[in-house]
Symmetry: C2
Subunit: 289 residues, 2 copies
């Protein structure tokens, strides 16, 4: 049931992304290469489900939700560059810069980020212009120097250092948390949710963001490369500070449980309409890859 | 007179940029390093003057105008990277990546681009929300895969090739023209100009964009390194196709004159209020660096 719902949301996103009217050239080819690499579409799905959780219409906010996937994709392309994390593979395929070269990979990322804001500013049926401009500001904040980009800077600076729990949490809060929070809020704001509902979605996204990261760290140790689509135990080899390395495996699993509980609790005021978000929180904690 | 006006506009931009509430860290330091490297601020100045040319208030649109300088600065940082044009110097100072390293330079560019859209979505006094969202779409188009980023791709692909005049124009139209046009239109649209006035500004910006590039090519041959702040005759050494290499020096100068005339003509319907824009067109044709 949940799997079908998740796939239905993701299909909506994929269908929208596939019909973008991009003229065919090497730049758009490299943009599409990474955009169509088959991620989980968690950010747009979160936005669509958040819109429904406050009683809104997911179809109406689709362009804005899909913009989040463009931003996520740009960040992956730039993160994989030799000057950054220097990864040759992403989602089991060659990284963008390994196929198109570094210069074009940088530009493909730049173009995806820029296009995301074009999508965020598209006219949306039944959405107030105030809330659309608010969302643009919030997404820029989540993706920018106070959010995702800051997280990547912190991550680069942390390489091969032993970090404390709060340092690790700060990195994740910026690097992945800020955009996830912006995604949930985007759905809530564009769909006309109350401030109380938007706050509930913020708390929920904060909790699942950390839960997602803890689970990632656990999978890196307990998962196998084939299922993960990337080499297992790469954190260990890169001497990264992770939840298991700081809290021990049992401690990390307890923290995952705790965050998942927080996520469920945050949703209480949203009632029945948030059932997919409840299931998403459980899925994040239980996923195998 | 014109120089004083130009400086007054630029000072407005610099003052606004200097008070941005950025927390101090290595990321914001690298963003500021390039932002404060002392460019001519042509894009925001163009936007402010365009707003006045349609009878608007320049102060009211200042955050949006300054966003254009952030986008321009990000593009310079990324263009200078080893994987792109591989320039060690910019405006007489070390390029961003030579000071902060490649990884951080990429991220500083990403953060500047992202922050530009946060500024574009700031509440502006007396500006309709419709026109603000329209401007965000247009700036994204001018800066993105159909505009500036496409221009950089074309430029990379053109290295050491002999190009035709129309190929050179296509590169400039994308690489610098698209954002200049977006800048002039931004001012016109946010200040509530009529469609006819916005079209006049578009024609004007198209003409001065090409004039600027022709003059750049001429200066590269006739200027000296000290005045230019970069090595003279670098186009020649890089075997770049330029206006003088295609049209000859006399032909290039004639084309510059022709474009400047077009710029003046486009402004006719705007009357007296466009006097600064007239002078700006002459300045572009006559500047020494």
């Amino acid at each position: 049931m949940f799997k079908e719902d998740l796939e239905a949301y993701a299909r909506l996103v994929d269908t929208y992304l596939a019909q973008l009217p991009w003229e065919k050239n090497t730049l758009t080819e490299s943009m599409k290469y990474s955009l169509e690499a088959g991620g989980k579409r968690i950010r747009p799905v979160l936005a669509l489900a958040a819109a429904e959780a406050v009683g809104g219409d997911k179809e109406a906010i689709l362009p804005a939700a899909c913009a989040l996937e463009l931003i996520h994709t740009y960040s992956l392309i730039h993160d994989d560059l030799p000057a950054m994390d220097d990864d040759d593979y992403r989602r089991g395929r060659l990284a963008n810069h390994k196929v198109f070269g570094e210069g074009q990979a940088i530009l493909a990322g730049d173009a995806l980020l820029t296009y995301a804001f074009e999508l965020l500013a598209q006219p949306l049926k039944g959405v107030t212009l105030e809330s659309q401009l608010r969302v643009i500001r919030e997404v820029a904040q989540g993706a920018g120097y106070q959010g995702m980009v800051k997280g990547q800077i912190l991550d680069l600076a942390a390489e091969k250092k032993q970090l404390t729990l709060s340092e690790v949490e700060e990195i994740h809060r910026c690097k992945t948390g800020a955009l996830l929070i912006a995604s949930a809020r985007l759905g809530g704001i564009l769909a006309g949710g109350t401030e109380e509902e938007i706050l509930a979605l913020t708390r929920y996204a904060t909790a699942i963001g950390l839960a997602f990261q803890i689970k990632d760290d656990i999978l890196d140790i307990e998962g196998d490369s084939a299922t993960l689509g990337k080499p297992a135990q790469s954190d260990l080899r890169q001497e990264k500070s992770t939840y298991p390395s700081i809290l021990g495996m049992e401690g990390a699993k307890k923290e995952l449980e705790h965050k998942t509980e927080e996520a469920h609790k945050a949703l209480e005021i949203l009632g029945e309409r948030a059932s997919f978000l409840h299931e998403l929180a459980d899925y994040i904690a239980q996923r195998k890859h």
